[in-house]
């Protein structure tokens, strides 16, 4: 590999060097143009993912089964969706990540997908999670943040994951009836509202309080999906977003000091748009982006610069992404970050450059190393610092996996060439020496994969 800048483009901003990547950087005119061209090309659904079903179809199948035939039929439909939709797409997604030419675009998909985490721990929506990422995240990674926010918060997968489908305004038609019947204190569920504020937009330090959370939950009451329809009309069930007026809390609401008049479904859209352009949102997102691409402790100057671009561009994520690529500190500290298990496994597979990879070397190891795909332990998503991933057990598991994985590489790969193609410009003398003195070719490749140079970016 020619230089540190190429390494930075491919590894810090991308998913690690695949065999054709360096030539592509040259063709594009250098590391930065290679990155910028990806922004210009998006959004497109990559061909290997384009044939999978829409979440609305997957979910409608499950919900119709329930409405028409009951719980057993629902369970069976869910099983089929996991088998027929989710697992094949998970595998195709993994293979694509291991081969994608535009790996900066994919990094951004993974970044925003983690920002708007949902988890297959919620079995009911698990089968549609890959579709959720494809529909709500991917098209917007270089679009407007406000559009991504709308797409995410209106998506049935998120509405179920954060319990908004059961959230009913206490003064709505249904809410009044329910309270009269059960004596419950409230029928509102605040989960989605709280996470939108705390995790998705302004962040926990923005100075909102419980009253704001409740007000946003009232605004979002009635945001539901077409699986809630009555059992006597299974043909009316659908798998898309649906606003249910009878659930919606009537009246004006005030959030972060702004008053919103009663406006049904549009009320929520207006609030989301305001949250998307709030200065605290700009700081919150900038901090996460700089932490992701630059350093575990994000330099303040960098954060301020990215936040300013976010604000000045009206939340244009193409402009924001260009500004991140532009950060000098990102290019000045080539090994400051430790790869997450997911990115580590993907980058090892990119280096291996095999046409077909068995599940056990692509999807399974992410889980073994502590980051099962679409299974983050909380709505906060996966951590993004060395502290989250560089633990003794996790490191030893990486070493064990890498040792076994290297043994599956085609014989005849020259370790010295692999070293140069993956971490050449940043490789230490110790790594060169260890590879040169390794007792076998696969041990040499395993040493490259477990080296700090390869595990860092």
């Amino acid at each position: 590999m020619r230089d540190i800048a190429t390494f930075t483009a491919l590894t810090r901003f991308g998913l690690g060097a695949a065999p054709d990547d360096e030539a592509a950087v040259d063709t594009a005119g250098g590391p930065q143009p290679w990155l910028l061209a990806q922004i210009a090309r998006s959004p497109q659904t990559p061909a290997p993912l384009a044939g999978f079903r829409a979440s609305a179809d997957i979910l409608a199948g499950i919900w119709r089964a329930r409405a028409a035939e009951g719980r057993d039929a629902e369970r069976e439909a869910m099983r089929q969706a996991y088998r027929g939709d989710y697992r094949p797409e998970l595998r195709a997604r993994g293979l694509y990540l291991a081969q994608a030419p535009d790996s900066f675009t994919e990094r951004m998909v993974l970044f925003w997908s983690n920002h708007f985490t949902v988890s297959s721990a919620r079995r009911a929506i698990g089968a549609a999670i890959a579709a959720y990422e494809r529909e709500a995240i991917r098209p917007h990674v270089f679009g407007r943040f406000s559009d991504m926010l709308r797409a995410v918060v209106r998506h049935p997968v998120m509405l179920v994951y954060l319990d908004n489908t059961g959230s009913v305004g206490p003064n709505s038609r249904v809410g009044r009836r329910r309270i009269a019947r059960t004596g419950a204190e409230t029928t509102l569920n605040e989960n989605l509202a709280r996470e939108v504020l705390e995790l998705h937009t302004v962040g926990v330090h923005a100075g909102y309080d419980q009253e704001d959370v409740i007000a946003l939950a009232q605004v979002l009451s009635g945001w539901s999906h077409g699986g809630q329809r009555r059992r006597d009309a299974p043909e009316a069930v659908h798998g898309g977003f649906e606003f249910i007026p009878a659930f919606h809390e009537p009246g004006a609401k005030t959030i972060l000091g702004v008053r919103y008049d009663e406006d049904g479904e549009d009320e929520g859209l207006r609030v989301l748009d305001d949250l998307a352009r709030h200065p605290a949102t700009a700081m919150h997102l900038a901090t996460k982006l700089v932490r992701h691409f630059v350093a575990d402790d994000p330099p303040e100057d960098d954060v301020r610069r990215i936040a300013a671009v976010f604000t000045d561009s009206g939340g244009d994520l193409a402009a924001v992404s260009r500004a991140v690529i532009d950060l000098r500190s990102a290019w000045a500290t080539p090994l400051g970050k430790v790869k997450s298990p997911q990115d580590y496994v993907i980058s090892a597979n990119r280096a291996a450059a095999m046409d077909d990879v068995p599940q056990r070397d692509l999807i399974q190891p992410m889980g073994l190393l502590g980051q099962e795909t679409f299974a983050a332990p909380s709505p906060q998503g996966w951590g993004d610092t060395a502290r989250d991933w560089l633990t003794p057990e996790a490191l030893m598991t990486r070493i064990e996996w890498a040792r076994r994985f290297a043994a599956t590489w085609p014989a005849g790969r020259n370790p010295a060439e692999v070293l140069d193609a993956t971490v050449g410009p940043v490789a230490s003398a110790a790594l060169h020496q260890a590879v040169a003195r390794a007792p076998s070719g696969d041990a040499a490749i395993a040493l490259i994969l477990v080296s700090p140079e390869f595990q860092r970016r």
């Binding site: 909380s378 906060q380 490191l395 110790a430 790594l431 040493l447 700090p452």
Partner: protein, 389 residues
């Protein structure tokens, strides 16, 4: 070969490579051990510890109530499911206590929210982003030693937080040879973060458990007794962890409950016995608490099962437990006594059990527990008489 043996038998090269990066283990702040076994899915307490002599119990459960010959009588009213017969030596030794009609403050019916609330300890679902047991560990030693242990690659929320914890997994990857690890150590010499983590991994204690017996994922229910062996071996070490969390899944018995619970209760019982055997002399200083996110409906449903309910069962085992008894209040199963006309009323608070373990057993200050571990449970006093103190 396991890593511990590797440490003892590896050549001078590795030891030299690691010498500059020694991570000293501070002395453990306590000799007490605590294990929390989380029965995810909602244990039906009335099927594990059955009020078999209660006419309301038979009225509510015409098909699945345990008959007299399906329980081991404890006090003429409650009987233990025969699948847990292996626990009777603990009962007789006064090392096992039962707390029926127990639950956290959660009163809805979502597994997800109920588990989150039990684990985060704030008193509401999603009220905190870390786990109460992690905050408790911070209070023991500010987190500078990894006192907590979880099984499997993912740390459950109850143990997540600022204090680093250990994890142990039966990952099916082959161990690597000593020669390779020596070379890896050389690569890490110049990178302190990697060198430290690698050094700690080498020093990690590996339980002497026959992994060949483990079938699939460590979290699978059938592996629970073997996992318990591993936990016991790790906790028994003087320099090992002090607090462990184990998950046992599959308790959401909406249908076919009698068959499913028979197997699960047997596995749970075998696991508790394995902990007692494996901990050896340390069992004396141990409390094991078995809990679930909620109980189940008092009445059976139409599928030989039960649905999500409220008051459930907690069990406390260990040499430090003042057991052989049924603790707490029991509201009964009469129509008037049921919560929302369907569930066992939760008159015994999980938080009171947790607090007793933290304060009376692990020795945390009451003020710290009230302020940092369970900040919204001041009204709930630690259950008295739970431990032999």
């Amino acid at each position: 070969m396991d890593r511990r043996r590797f440490l003892m038998t590896s050549g001078a090269g590795l030891m030299a490579a690691l010498a500059g990066n020694g991570v000293a283990f501070a002395a453990a702040p306590t000799e007490k051990r605590f294990v929390f076994i989380f029965l995810r899915g909602g244990l039906d307490g009335l099927h594990a510890l059955a009020p078999y002599a209660d006419a309301d119990y038979r009225r509510l459960r015409p098909r699945i109530a345990l008959e007299r010959d399906a329980v081991i009588d404890l006090d003429g009213y409650f009987g233990l499911h025969t699948a847990m017969e292996g626990l009777m030596p603990l009962v007789r030794a006064g090392e096992l206590a039962f707390v029926p009609a127990a639950a956290t403050g959660y009163r809805e019916r979502s597994h997800f929210d109920a588990q989150n609330m039990l684990e985060n300890g704030s008193g509401v679902p999603y009220g905190a982003r870390d786990g109460w047991l992690n905050r408790a560990i911070l209070g023991l030693n500010a987190g500078d030693r990894r006192l907590g242990l979880s099984l499997g690659p993912t740390v459950p929320l109850i143990l997540q937080g600022q204090a680093d914890v250990q994890s142990w997994s039966n990952d099916t990857l082959p161990d690597v040879d000593a020669d390779f690890l020596t070379r890896v150590a050389g690569l890490y010499q110049q990178d302190p973060a990697f060198a430290d983590a690698f050094h700690d991994a080498q020093g990690a204690i590996m339980p002497d458990v026959d992994m060949a017996g483990m079938n699939g994922q460590i979290g699978a229910a059938r592996n629970f007794p073997l996992s318990a062996q591993a936990v016991a071996a790790l906790l028994a070490e003087a320099a090992g962890p002090r607090v462990a969390v184990m998950d046992l899944q599959g308790w959401d018995t909406h249908f076919a409950q009698p068959v499913r619970l028979r197997d699960l209760l047997r596995l749970l019982s075998e696991g508790l016995v394995a902990l007692r055997e494996g901990l050896g002399p340390v069992w004396r200083d141990t409390v094991v608490m078995v809990g679930s996110e909620f109980g189940r409906t008092a009445a059976e449903n139409g599928n030989n099962g039960t649905d999500h309910g409220t008051g459930g069962l907690a069990m406390l085992a260990g040499g430090a437990v003042n057991g052989g008894r049924i603790l707490g209040d029991w509201p009964g199963l009469s129509a008037r006594a049921l919560f929302e006309e369907r569930d066992v009323l939760a008159v015994n608070a999980y938080e009171s059990l947790f607090k007793s373990v933290l304060i009376d057993h692990l020795g945390l200050g009451a003020a710290y527990v009230e302020g940092a571990v369970f900040p919204n449970a001041r009204g709930i006093a630690p259950m008295s008489g739970l431990l032999r103190v």
